[in-house]
Subunit: 460 residues, 2 copies
């Protein structure tokens, strides 16, 4: 048992010291995609191991072909203690174009933007600042209580920005040591600087490409126009008929497994400060596509899509060529939600396309791949206790948002370890992640540390 | 006045001598697309001038930047004589791949294919053999009658296979000397070796390309999928909706000016020996596209089309990219018939596309070009007299076919000189025009000469 009020006060009092700690880590140029920076990645791993060891986490450095993973496997003496897993990544994006930075990307600068103090450096927000919020909270509690109130596995990866090739090898290798009741990941954002968020779902992905073959060679449109089956015409018909007039996908049984988000969450979304026209104008649009009667939140967080990512066929160079091509190609992806079954959907897409072909016209499918959507039960103990902890720190309850895309590590935890993940992060939309002058607000950092301390305190 | 029976008998008797004449012309390597053969093109022009001069046609060689045009302007003394114009081309296609020829492409060989005597050489059918059928007929009649029964302009071009750049300059230059009652062109084919044909129409062409712009930059389909207006989706919808379920084009007023072909011509098409399944299997198809209830003849000769010649947008390389692109592009052409007005149709295509765009989505049009369809009145004196002459020679009346594509010189005659063209030719589908081992049947050649003699005799 420990005194959380004292922990929070200590964290607040030690702000400058903790900022120095972050600045120290930010000086390491751990760009994972550029081979020349491999030593720097290793240095970052060593730095983190030393920090974890400083409060008794006994970290190891796991090495495979790529950049190392820092791993701790901490046992508490508490009876019936839960086991939790924490994930973060220490690698950062490249810094080019360097000329657009106002300061050296690896020489952190304290500054202030719109009266908000912040620290500017590559990795400040993604993900060095974020991962330290959790690790520092652990340290304060460990120091205060003598031990942690749970068993803990920490995975700090060095290849998140370059495809995470080592991670699956590690997960397979350490499978027996990784089972936990819940995972926490600190690599997401807040709704805005006053509104914390927990990501409750991530959309899955189904990708496929296909080729329609009409005549057996390119034909002259004068001689054969009106008789030849133009595969571009056929592919446009197939793709166009995928949507009805309400923007719903017409593939049979496509919506099987799509759950309506419960009303309290929908209500919380509707209360968010959000200007739809402004949101759309940022992408150069005046209106929004998608299903009639659904909000932007639903469309991007809780509804599936069928998207055409690429199309090509016939003559595509300068000028005119009166050709009826033999082939036309499309690349599509579906974003999936809830319990949508990618295999079934793919099967139904294949059936639909085959049934749309005139007699003698052929289709060749190529390259199907998929991962399922993830949707967590926000009524569970872990989401509810995290929500309470966040509300205590921020004065407002967090919004349960959705993630439009997927986060591979979260899917791996679900698939390989059958473990849910609570995604909490303190990044802001204006943090310029992956861009020049990346920053992390001091309030995100300090209140982030305190938030995690409160989340951890729930386990007492 | 002259004795046509004697002329026909003389032509028949002199067959070997006339074949030698063709062989002589075929030895000249007048490949117009390859600059190295410019001298050979000039030699062919000189050869033709000499031949024309041999029966008093007083030809000139018209030179501009490209290969020369041989031109005759013959005046008859007959009162109230008609004026006719004849067009042919002396240039030929390249011969590569030479290895696929069974003999030297420029050393003509007499052979027999399926018991049909023929002459094999580049240009035998396209167009040296064909143009000589007309010129030799003229010579026999001039020799027999002392003068021709009409005023005559002869245009023999040397750039038909490489874009006819000199022709429009010549037509403009000689405009005042070219007016005639009718033009004859001998550069088309028979329906089959027993069924002669006159081409009664040529389809026009309207070309356009356009770009649909959705979001103002490429977006991530995870973040914006379900909200962003994917321009590929919009362009596929636009293009797909251009056709109704019966294969008709839905652009408003598209069919204005499309005439139904008169019943007697349709009946003559239906009587032709034609195996639809065989025709389709030659292009690798089992069924035919186009308008429900229309025959293959109508679809390719007398009905307009809307064809998508090219489409491209988004990611088109290997693998998957979860992008919602900013742009999608299409290139389209319409084949036009009858009195369809390309300007009006283009305007209606533009209106249709604009009206199909969601609010804020844009379209940019680029590159519209067009030429009108040409349709001749087959009830006119020239078509009827040619038809009678052909029936006398071949024992069956010619079928009035359509041309699916356009023939620029015919369009130029119509546009610049307001003159119809009777397209008569004796080429056959198996003549291997533009391919190795090009041939021309001796029957096409000799009966071709006699056919033209009979056509000319109608002017007595």
């Amino acid at each position: 048992m420990f005194n959380i009020a004292k922990v929070l006060a200590d964290i607040e009092a030690d702000s400058d010291q903790n900022i120095d700690l972050l600045a120290d880590l930010l000086k390491i140029k751990s760009i994972s995609t550029i081979p020349d920076y491999a030593d720097e990645c290793y240095r970052a791993a060593v730095w983190l191991k030393a920090f974890l060891d400083s409060f008794g986490m006994d970290a190891i450095i796991y090495e495979s072909e790529g950049h190392p993973i820092v791993f701790s496997n901490y046992q508490t003496s508490r009876p019936e203690a839960k086991t939790i897993l924490f994930y973060g990544h220490y690698d950062v994006q490249p810094v080019d174009p360097v000329s657009l930075w106002d300061s050296d990307p690896f020489d952190p600068v304290l500054s202030s933007i719109d009266n908000e103090p912040c620290i500017i450096a590559r990795g400040a927000s993604d993900d060095k600042g974020q991962l330290l919020t959790f690790l520092i909270a652990l340290k304060y509690i460990k120091d205060e209580a003598g031990e942690l109130p749970f068993c803990l596995k920490i995975i700090l990866e060095g290849e998140e920005e370059c495809g995470s090739k080592t991670l699956p090898i590690f997960l397979e290798d350490y499978k027996d040591k990784l089972s936990a009741d819940i995972a926490y990941v600190c690599d997401t954002g807040m709704w805005d600087k006053d509104t914390p968020a927990i990501t409750r779902s991530l959309r899955g992905l189904l990708s496929e490409e296909f080729k329609i073959i009409g005549p057996d060679r390119d034909l002259h449109s004068g001689e054969f126009g009106g008789v030849a089956w133009n595969p571009i015409r056929i592919i446009t018909k197939i793709l166009s008929d995928v949507y009805d007039d309400e923007g719903k996908v017409t593939i049979p049984n496509f919506y099987d497994g799509v759950n309506e988000v419960n009303e309290s969450i929908i209500n919380s979304w509707e209360k968010l400060s959000f200007n739809e026209a402004e949101y759309l104008s940022k992408i150069g649009q005046k209106s929004s596509s998608g299903e009639t009667g659904r909000s932007i939140f639903e469309k991007t967080w809780s509804r599936p899509t069928f998207e055409i990512n690429g199309i090509f066929g016939g003559y595509t160079d300068e000028g005119t060529k009166t050709v009826i091509p033999s082939e036309a190609n499309a690349k599509i992806t579906c974003r999936l939600v809830g319990n949508q079954n990618p295999e079934k959907i793919l099967e139904n897409i294949h059936k639909y396309i085959k049934s749309s072909l005139p007699d003698g016209v052929q289709v060749i499918f190529d390259g199907a791949d998929h991962c399922r959507a993830i949707e967590f039960d926000t009524d569970s103990y872990y989401f509810q206790s995290a929500s309470e902890a966040i509300e205590e720190e921020w004065g407002v309850s967090p919004v349960f948002t959705g993630g439009g895309g997927s986060i591979p590590v979260v899917e791996a935890f679900k698939t390989l370890l059958n473990m849910d993940t609570v995604l909490i992060g303190f990044a802001l939309d204006d943090d310029r992640i992956h861009s020049p002058n990346e920053k992390y607000n001091i309030s995100s950092y300090v209140k982030g540390i305190k938030t995690w301390a409160r989340v951890i305190a729930k386990y007492q």
